[in-house]
Symmetry: C2
Subunit: 363 residues, 2 copies
């Protein structure tokens, strides 16, 4: 596929977010939902990966309980594609484990880390960019992130301040990272937008070897425990390692970090409201999944998995019907979804309630 | 029960309104819904009737397709209680038919006409008032309506301008009717409220004989066809008679019409929004039927017949989940429900869609 370093794609597919409850549940997390297209997000992500890497170099990093549903959704991948974390410890430990496994077989291999639940459009822009970013990571010996030119003062994302330019070619602009900044408040986000900051997509590109060196240099939460992996003691490694994100453990501490400008539209689909951006709606701006009849209604997000939904005279709502549960919320409250779910009885939180599978009228 | 004339209660229970769709459908009209209490409205109405009339003097006037569901809901009534209209022709023809049948057996009997789908509170006030109103109708030889003191400028009701007083006793105030007026616009309703107009409840009290005389005198749409009834030709009567309301056919034309002030709270439960008045809500003003979780939400009407409903941050909505259909509307649009239903595909309008009966978690 590329003439540069060999590419290995790691798909981060753990996490049991509640932000799309009741459509998402512990047994059916967001990446198994068809939020971006008519297919589950994980299927979109794997198809994306197959455009840049050999089939046997694509790995799904996830928990044991999700292997079977992923296998059912992904007949194109062999069973060896699943690397099962014995316990969730954040992105730092799992990416160090994955780098260790790849480095053992392919010391010069470049890792590309994708999230299983992001939207990217068009895929072709990503698959054109990644080999060039991988070559850059190898040539410059850098840990690279992909950074997205923002179109709004988004408070839900981390941002990156670009530093010294590394490349400025057609289709490949890259900088040293000036700073990673956490999710800002609105006035700060507005300033970032004016001052040319970029969104941190969480898509990473780096050689297995360079990443492990930076882990050893900067991440005492992880590095001392890597010896377990040399002895094949995966369970012990995950038991002893501290939970930490790769951003905190490595990227924010290392001096060898760069960022490459994304050439595609990107969304982390972090809430029901984000579907209004991620999917095209009707002429009144209603984004709907399943049979919906919107009468004098606009700007709504509807997930109708359990019979038709009728809207009348309502604007800017989220309406979800699935698994025997009906949820009606103001769309601008969707960032507070975890707070909502925490306030509900446990039996509702687990979903799969009542009559979901009894309704066969819409798929 | 009373020492005055014998009382016969006619319960008008036809009509296949769409104003509570999808909870109400042609096969399950509003009077079969538990809108006023934990029992269907028709059951509340029959219990009310049993407080003023003998069991065998209570008649349900309805269409053939509703007899079976009513029988199931009303074990306290014999099968002879059902008088089945061969076709719906409005209240004029059906009340003339009923008066003709009662008069044949009990010429001095007084008819009390109740709607099967109204709310009355307390029932005891009605059952105390009706025998006195019946005596007044007999003594004065008048057709009486019950008129409700208004508490708001309601545009959804017909109003009555009281004329010359007939009685002004404790618990019995009555007037000649000055005028019946149609559903007014808001400024007119505000004027009516200031000027002492009353709401027309549609509850009627009159002797069978006097009513038939007034039909013969004023209602050419009905009177010539009554001869069919003398020969037992009910089908022919309903085929030839013109569709017309009793208000238009008789009350607005006759000079022998009076009105009695109601001593109870009354609501015709004409829309989802009216449930906010008819039933007591939670501390945030949410009126709910079935399992509902309202989080930072107020003033909503929820009908959750098919699994739990969760509200989050929304106000003044109607949310209905029943028969496999989910409806979300602004509460102030509920008077326009017929318009909504007319715009939907036929298969939705008929209800009973999908998985309603599969969910047994709430009753």
């Amino acid at each position: 596929m590329s003439e540069g370093p060999s590419l290995h794609v790691l798909i981060l597919a753990g996490g049991v977010g509640t932000r799309f409850w009741p459509a998402s549940t512990p047994a059916r997390p967001k990446q198994l939902l068809a939020l971006g297209s008519e297919r589950p997000l994980i299927v979109d992500t794997v198809e994306r990966a197959l455009k840049v890497a050999e089939r046997d170099r694509i790995r799904i990093l996830t928990g044991a309980h999700l292997v079977h549903p992923f296998q059912a959704a992904l007949p194109q991948l062999p069973d060896s594609a699943y690397w099962v974390e014995p316990r969730a410890r954040g992105t730092g430990p799992v990416l160090a484990w994955a780098a260790h496994q790849v480095a053992a077989q392919d010391p010069d291999g470049v890792l590309i880390s994708l999230h299983a639940d992001h939207l990217i459009d068009p895929d072709e822009a990503l698959s054109a960019l990644l080999p060039r970013a991988a070559a850059l990571a190898s040539d410059e010996d850098l840990l690279l992130t992909l950074a997205v030119p923002p179109d709004r003062p988004e408070t839900g994302y981390g941002w990156i301040r670009p530093g010294e330019p590394i490349r400025d070619e057609a289709g490949l602009r890259a900088w040293r990272v000036g700073a990673f900044v956490e999710k800002p408040d609105l006035p700060t986000a507005q300033r970032y937008l004016r001052e040319g900051y970029l969104w941190n997509s969480g898509i990473f590109v780096w050689s297995a070897r360079r990443f492990l060196e930076e882990v050893h240099r900067h991440a005492p939460e992880i590095a001392p425990h890597l010896a377990h992996l040399d002895r094949g003691e995966v369970e012990a490694y995950f038991q002893e390692v501290s939970p930490i994100s790769v951003d905190e453990a490595v990227l924010e501490r290392s001096g060898r970090v760069g960022t490459v400008e994304a050439t595609f539209r990107w969304d982390d689909v972090g809430s029901w409201a984000s579907l209004s951006r991620a999917r095209s709606g009707d002429e009144a701006g209603n984004v709907t999944v399943g049979e919906t009849h919107a009468v004098q209604a606009g700007g709504n997000v509807v997930w109708a998995e359990d019979g038709p939904v009728v809207l009348f005279g309502v604007d800017d709502l989220v309406v979800v019907r699935t698994g025997g549960i009906t949820v009606v919320a103001r769309k601008d409250r969707s960032p507070d979804w975890k707070e909502l779910v925490a306030r509900l009885p446990e039996r509702l939180r687990e979903g799969g309630f009542g009559s979901a599978d009894a309704s066969g009228d819409d798929a």
